[in-house]
Symmetry: C2
Subunit: 194 residues, 2 copies
């Protein structure tokens, strides 16, 4: 017996960054061996092929994003304050370097949805879960009396998700602009209105 030598999470984060940077098609195996420090054989042994490495990276990305999400709502403060902090964090991402302003899930979805049905389904499910988490937070805010609106929590969550998608795309044409924060503020305001 003998265990693999590499750190799986470390490898997957390196692959994540590579895919985020160049997209799936343009990220060559050569680039992936360089980024991960693994030789081709090891990658194929551990992840079957390039597609498998993307799937594993998406899975890791999902977990990382999930953990991050939980962190924002773990603190003792109004739910809406946590939500605002969560949105503002996304704004910060949008105003940072090119790699961070994109979301690996939506980027991969856009590139591969038409070519790979099962990847499309996987990503759609992850995004749906995220939406449901947000919906639960809106519901919580309503129950605690923080939020007074007649609108359905699920609708609010969808609207926020749509806004965040839009924000990220918008950021591509507006590097480090105060406009992103302005739009995010407007979005938050519209969500919490009446």
């Amino acid at each position: 017996m003998r265990n693999a030598e590499f750190d799986r999470e470390q490898v997957l984060r390196a692959a994540m960054n590579a895919f985020l940077h160049k997209g799936y098609a343009k990220t060559s195996m050569q680039a992936l061996t360089k980024a991960t420090g693994l030789h081709p054989g090891s990658i194929y042994c551990a992840f079957e092929n390039k597609r498998g490495l993307l799937l594993a990276s998406l899975e890791q990305y999902k977990q990382d994003r999930n953990d991050e999400f939980q962190q924002f709502f773990i603190q003792e403060r109004p739910v809406l304050d946590s939500l605002k902090a969560y949105i503002d964090n996304i704004v910060t991402e949008c105003n940072s370097c090119d790699t961070a302003k994109a979301c690996l899930l939506t980027k991969s979805l856009s590139e591969l949805a038409e070519q790979d049905e099962s990847i499309k389904i996987f990503i759609s499910e992850v995004l749906e879960q995220w939406q449901q988490s947000l919906s639960a937070k809106f519901e919580q805010a309503k129950k605690l009396g923080e939020l007074t609106t007649t609108k359905d929590s699920k609708h609010l969550a969808r609207y926020l998700v749509m806004g965040i998608y839009g924000l990220r795309t918008f950021a591509h044409t507006h590097p480090q602009s105060a406009v992103i924060q302005q739009l995010a503020d407007q979005l938050y305001e519209d969500l919490c209105r009446e």
Copy 2:
């Protein structure tokens, strides 16, 4: 002397569809020769290379989209009615086949922004012009008393653009869903409020 035989617009629309369908990297020259009906030599003679064909396609896409935009506002009716019809048309696109729900500009931006600065600049400028056209319509609606809001027209245009970006991404995970229309309606409502 002798003129080229092919119809440039027809060729560019075929290329546009190919790029929209598979993305730039995954659209091979072989696929492009098939889609356009042109032989490699003709493409390289007319557009220099694959990248040149994309640029020409983007230019054509810009013109087509511009013409389409103007059509919505040429009719004699309240500006806001035209705007609503314009948004609803996008909803229809989002609910149609996979190829139509994406925008070639944002799709190419997402794929190539980090690798090709001049393509990024070109696309950013086209999107900025679109935003300004929308801004002008909001301004017009204000002047005509259709819209009563304290908000800056440019801000409204940015918010709408963000919403449309988000709508298109959202549509990728929700094929032919009533939810898209619901979100668009909410977006329009938020824009025209107070």
